[in-house]
Each structure stands twice: as C-alpha cells, then as structure tokens.
Symmetry: C2
Subunit: 245 residues, 2 copies
C-alpha cells in the first residue's frame, strides 16, 4: 500500500505507461523533462543509466518505458526523493529503477565507482543572482535556481559518471547554450546533437536539448526544431507525436 | 563602361535593388550570404562596417540597401576582388563601399587601425582535411575550404576590428557551432543571437547565423528557425519574405 499525502495527486506519464506522484507546491514534471527523456539515446536491452536532479523521478520512469537498462535517479531534496520512491513502488519498477537521496556534488562512493552508458539531467535553469524574494517556496526554488549546483557542477558530475564514448544529455534554456558548450568541452563531453523547442512557429526557442559524447569527435548536428503550439490551445502534430508517443 | 568577361553574367540581388557580377566557375553568391546580410544588426544612418571573405561583394551590396554606413569588403582572391570592384562601378556605390584585396591574417595598417561597428563574415566552411581531389577549381576550393584562414583566424580578426560593444555576425554550418562559440569566447565576442536554417520542416539545420557582441553579457537568444522549402520546388512564405524582402 503506497501512501499518497493530501496535497499530492497521482498522474499518468504523457504516454500513459506509468503513474507518478506530483504536488504543485513541491514538484510537478514539465514538458522539458519529457522531451529530454525522448531525445536522449538509450541502450535498449542492457546497460546503466543515471539521472541527476531527478525531482519526482519523471525521467527515470519515462526512460524505463524505452529501455531495459537499470536506471538510478539522484535527488537532493528529501521530500521529492520520497515522492519518487513511492511512485517507484506504485509502478512496481524497483527491479529496474532505484532512487538515491544525495547531492550531485558529494555523491556516495558506490555511485562514483560506476561508469554509466547514459547520464541525463534537467538541472535548475536560473542563476542564483536571479533569485527573487517573490518565489519563497523552497522546494520550487531549489528545483529552479542554482542553489545547490551550478550548470558547471552538473556537467562536471556528468563527465565523472559517464563511460568513455557514453552519452550525456541535458535540457536547458537556450540562453545558456554558450555556457553549456563551454562546460562540456572543459570536461571532455563533445556536443554531438542539439534540438531547439519553440513555443510557436514565430517565437524564439525557450528549450534546448543537448547530447554530448565523452571524448567524442567534434561536430554537432542540429535536429529539426520542435514547435509546441499550433495556436493558443492546440499542440502541433509533431509535438503530440513526441510528447504522447 | 564596366567590362564583363565572357564567362561572367550580371545578376540582380534577390531584392533587385542592385546588380552583381557572377561566374559559376569563380564565385556566385549563396543564400547563406543573403541570410547573413539580413540577419546582422546594422547602424542605419552612419557608422562603419567591414565584411571579411567578401567574395564578389554580395554582403556589402546587400548591407548598403539597409544602411548608410560605409562598408569595406576584404577578399584574398584577386579574381573575385576584381569582380567586386566592377560590380561596385556598375552599381555606382563607390562613395559608400570600398573593396580591399588582402589576406584577413595580414590586413593593412589602415584597416587594423579602425574600429568597426559591425564585422560580418561568410567564411570557408570546410576544414582543410576535408579537401578532396575531386574539386580542383582553385577559386571554389579557396572559398569553401580553410586554406588561407581557419574559423579561429576569422573570429580573431573580427575581434580585432570590432569596437567595444560592436557586433560580429557570421554564417556557418551548424556542425561547427561548438567551435564558433569557443573561438568567440576566446576573443571576447559573446554570442548573443543565433538562428538556424533548415532546408525543410523535418530536416536537420544546414545553416546557422550567429551574432556576438564584443565584451557583451553572457546569454544567447535563439530566433525562430527559418525553413527554406515548403516542398521540392516552393520556398516557404517566411523564407521568401526574408530572402526577397
């Protein structure tokens, strides 16, 4: 019997394959995480993947519907980690997925001793200096702002965990693309595939997906831009195919 | 009276404002150059711009239809430089545009002593190692391959010529985006605006436009992706508006 707290709800993943516990004042997944879980390369039959800043575990759950590899999710906030382990029980995926309550800058030895095929991360997007007094919900602040880890910390940890020629996949704001590329090269993760997401056809991109390879050859492919909305209310056909697919 | 050699033809720019001498076995402008001339910021009433690797001068001519600033075009190949100066006579723009026959890695002092508001460049796209024996036309080889200048040389020269807070705008292949960003930061040109061009809606981008600011604040905007073709033969409405506009 899995406990659901009274501010929580149980949602389906967009592909309806699994369920996930969410709460608006703690953590709910965004389309960014779903797109990352769709964008990243996965080993199909076996292997090891790890998702940093996993929140309520949306990326591990999504990945588990594409791959038989084992998946570890790492979350620093105990409240979110607790949601993730309860969703894991709910979905009966504990044989494939495990969650760790840890800081990505101080990972336990058992994790640091591993070499993963794929490392994913949907990190906090905003720099600490952009913190405002207005948003004082600490759970949301930690998930959104670089309070416990910077972009450079994230890429550094990804690079430590990934095997030679393994993949590192991130989702972020396009504003940070220069910083992402700089940190990736610094830690020998060569950017290989990028994809932009625009809210509408004539709007600037507000999401970028980036995949790099540890010690990969230089040269980056830019996949076709994803446009989310056809009009105010309707998703485009291409977005629906990716998001619900 | 302007001489037109027998392998040459006189074309209009896409906006039909000016004419340009071209020759398929020497140099004809590409949509890349036109898109760069449309993408880049220009000072409207006064100022100084310079275009490196100018070829037959397509970018200076295009820019002159958007701005009253003076424009210098620099070309290393004498044959192309000669086409550019004849087009300049043809268009009677010598009061606004000048062409220099020079190597961007060894520019004359008069040029190096200036500080330009805008520096543009549509450089050779391919690394020297990609040179094949198949394409032995030296004019086209020099325009397409990094024989006389590498991407890093280009960005270094742009950075030397641009004034503090001035703009540097390049067009290149998306494959080189990591290298572009790396060189830009190295020479203190902070990437500020990028735009991708896809041949079709569902195809990878094959052109990227990048604008940076000398000592600008970090943070890059990704403008809406331009899609060129609606189907095999038809340009999209958005592309026509930019290209012919």
């Amino acid at each position: 019997m899995v406990t659901i707290h009274k501010n929580e709800r149980v949602d389906y993943l967009p592909n309806r394959a699994l369920q996930i516990i969410q709460a608006d004042d703690v953590f709910s997944f965004s389309i960014d995480a779903v797109l990352l879980a769709k964008f990243t390369y996965v080993p199909i039959q076996k292997g090891k993947m790890i998702d940093l800043c996993t929140g309520n575990g949306v990326i591990p759950f999504m990945l588990s519907t594409r791959s038989k590899a084992t998946i570890t999710g790492v979350e620093i906030q105990e409240r979110l980690y607790d949601m993730a382990i309860r969703s894991n029980e709910l979905n009966k995926r504990s044989d494939q997925i495990e969650f760790i309550h840890a800081d990505i800058n101080a990972l336990p030895k058992e994790i640091l001793g591993q070499q993963y095929d794929v490392v994913t991360c949907n990190p906090p997007y905003f720099e600490k200096k952009e913190l405002s007094e207005q948003n004082v919900n600490p759970h949301l602040q930690i998930a959104r702002h670089e309070i416990y880890c910077t972009l450079d910390d994230v890429v550094k940890t990804c690079a430590k965990l990934v095997r030679q020629k393994g993949k590192v996949a991130l989702v972020h704001r396009p504003e940070r693309l220069t910083d992402i590329f700089e940190s990736m090269r610094k830690y020998r993760i060569e950017p290989k595939r990028i994809q932009f997401v625009q809210p509408k056809k004539n709007k600037e991109a507000n999401i970028v997906l980036v995949e790099g390879i540890k010690d990969g050859k230089p040269g980056v492919k830019c996949l076709p831009t994803i446009v989310v909305y056809e009009d105010e209310k309707t998703y485009t056909k291409e977005f629906r195919a990716i998001y619900y697919g």
